[in-house]
Subunit: 385 residues, 2 copies
């Protein structure tokens, strides 16, 4: 709880809602006849409506990217380190939009919402949404707000995939792309970890084939395991070692199965917290969106060919100890962008924090990312400091 | 099923049993009053009884390291690639002993055995055994067979930890040490993966606090998940990619949760097979033995100091794409051995197979390992070509 708001905070923010009754056709073949999207904005949309920046979230993210909902909040939004007056994404210059993607569990239409056709919760019948579907729904939100072209679309991890899709689906509507800690497609190992998470959730007897809410149950064991596995892949071996090492919780080995090493305690806590805070059906959907993303697939695996439609400059950022989406995966994207004749700046940030580094402040990361954003603002003729 | 046995096979083998009624005091403070060990031997013990080699198994291994139990067997023992006449561990020269460790589920005393004090299965009350305990029990077996000193003690992964412990507990009883794909202690990340496996098993409602057998149940979901996670860490990202890539099982995406990618199918199959073939309480014990192994702990983290008692020559082998126990972990051991003034040969084998490479044939691996064994035989004056 901040006794007072930090001066570089966007301050107290309120989620907004946008309701759509134009049907949205999804990649899976189904259609959402109506849907609602929850979002937040930071900064001011200028008169020309050309200073808007879209921030896309990752697997377990949401629309609350910066600021506080309440003076009693323990923590600000998930990317507060990078969004605010004078920060990397400078809200004195940019109008920032962050939304909760369709299929989410933080207010946008998803498995916990009511299916208008049946009058009951969608639950497991909510259609599998893809990165493309999200991009379409984000463009609709831009239409609603009168934004023809984004000054930038930005995201890390699964958010970076959405940025990449934006450059292909709506090249005329994106002036700059920032793709952070992402990959042009999941590896077999990435899919394997997702599959473990899905099996953990789906084999939990409390999952009830996805109808847990109707059974008054929660597949907490499954979600906990999914989160524990996920968490290992978000941290680097080094950061886990530096943070916990082989430290024991008490002086002596207990020769049993109670928490013994600090790292066990940390993982169990992370898993327990997540197991009641996040929706299992949403988690399944998000992992599928990750697995499916593969723009090169329609071009016989030729990523450079797939990237042909893109027109904007790219900033691609990776982190040295990220083993979920390693720097090599970003270089794969950068190579293809270069081969396709696109403008791209690439930087690999030295960091010990693994995949999670994209969420954290870091001097070089902020300098490069902030520099790219300043250049973007200058080229777009946006006012500022 | 071999239509006929390969000429370099140890052939048809039969497990043997050794019953001990001298109590074995364990590191946890408890004592096994009696116990039984199941083992196999390959080759002939010579008259001087100085050609014996002990092979130690890894997490899910057992005493059946080479040859066939039956002409109908689909597969030979788990290290058949390296044990046999003319192979790396040449049974024309060496007498090889492989046993199932205490706490195991393949015949040695463990959770599935009867606790003589209660007359019921040990189940979850079987004491947590450590690498040290295993080494003591292995030395007892050597006594029983009249073997004063092993020509070599050899093992990969958790097996390599047992080798290391042999050099410290019984330096006078081991002439050569071969430590393959191992580590002097688990990292926080290694412990974290083990903890996910344990939580998966222990949170399965069919686990019944370890009394599943008495409930007529099997914690199959938990064991399956544990094996799936484990399996990802045994393979390299590269070998998984080369084997499965993003290949789909059918032409089209199914936009659902049935098996879609080949890698999902493979992992589910591996998990399902394991979930009925291995005992859950044993799996828990084995992961704890891994977590606890840390000879440097008693020396304020100084591994070189911990290694002071060792006297024999070492061969340390790692594999380039092993990320479970990466080459850096072997180098840590090698550095400490060198600092402690020990004789050590180290080789990092280029392999795409990750941790599993230690089980597989590979020309350079066999040449180096075989060369070390030949030199050992020569120095010990053992007959053979």
């Amino acid at each position: 709880m901040p006794a007072m708001l930090p001066p570089d905070s966007v301050g107290l923010v309120k989620p907004l809602r946008a309701y759509f009754d134009e049907p949205l056709a999804l990649a899976c073949g189904k259609t959402l006849s109506t849907y609602e999207v929850v979002y937040e904005t930071y900064g001011e949309l200028n008169a020309a409506r050309d200073n808007a920046v879209l921030v896309c979230h990752a697997l377990s993210g949401n629309h609350h990217a910066a600021g506080y909902h309440d003076m009693d909040d323990q923590k600000p939004g998930w990317w507060d380190a990078h969004i605010g007056p004078g920060k990397t994404i400078d809200t004195r210059r940019f109008f920032v939009i962050a939304l909760n993607n369709l299929g989410g569990c933080h207010g946008s239409t998803g498995p916990c919402s009511i299916d208008p056709e049946t009058g009951r919760s969608w639950g497991p019948t909510f259609p599998v949404v893809t990165v493309s579907d999200w991009v379409h729904s984000q463009a609709r939100l831009a239409d609603r707000l009168g934004i023809e072209r984004f000054a930038a679309v930005i995201g890390g991890s699964l958010g970076g995939m959405q940025v990449l899709q934006w450059t292909l689906t709506y090249p005329e509507r994106i002036a700059n792309a920032v793709v952070i800690a992402a990959t042009p497609r999941l590896s077999a190992q990435n899919i394997a970890f997702n599959e473990v998470a899905r099996q953990a959730i789906r084999s939990d007897p409390d999952f009830h084939d996805g109808w847990y809410a109707e059974h008054g149950a929660l597949p907490k064991r499954g979600l906990k395991l999914a989160r524990m596995v996920g968490h290992i892949t978000y941290l680097s071996e080094h950061s886990m070692g530096a943070k916990f090492g082989r430290d024991l919780r008490s002086e002596e080995l207990n020769f049993g199965y109670d928490v013994e090493f600090q790292v066990e305690s940390y993982l169990r806590y992370q898993g327990d917290t997540f197991s009641t805070a996040f929706d299992a059906n949403t988690y399944l959907l998000m992992t599928k969106a990750l697995d499916y993303f593969d723009p090169a697939a329609a071009h016989a695996g030729d990523l450079a060919a797939a990237l042909a439609p893109a027109t904007c400059p790219f900033l691609v950022v990776s982190f040295s100890t990220d083993w979920r989406f390693a720097p090599a995966r970003s270089r794969e994207l950068v190579d293809a962008l270069v081969r396709a004749g696109k403008r791209v700046s690439y930087v690999e940030i030295d960091s010990s924090h693994g995949h999670d580094a994209f969420l954290l402040p870091d001097a070089r990361y902020q300098a490069v990312f902030g520099g790219f954003m300043k250049r973007a603002a200058r080229e777009l003729g946006l006012e500022g400091n």
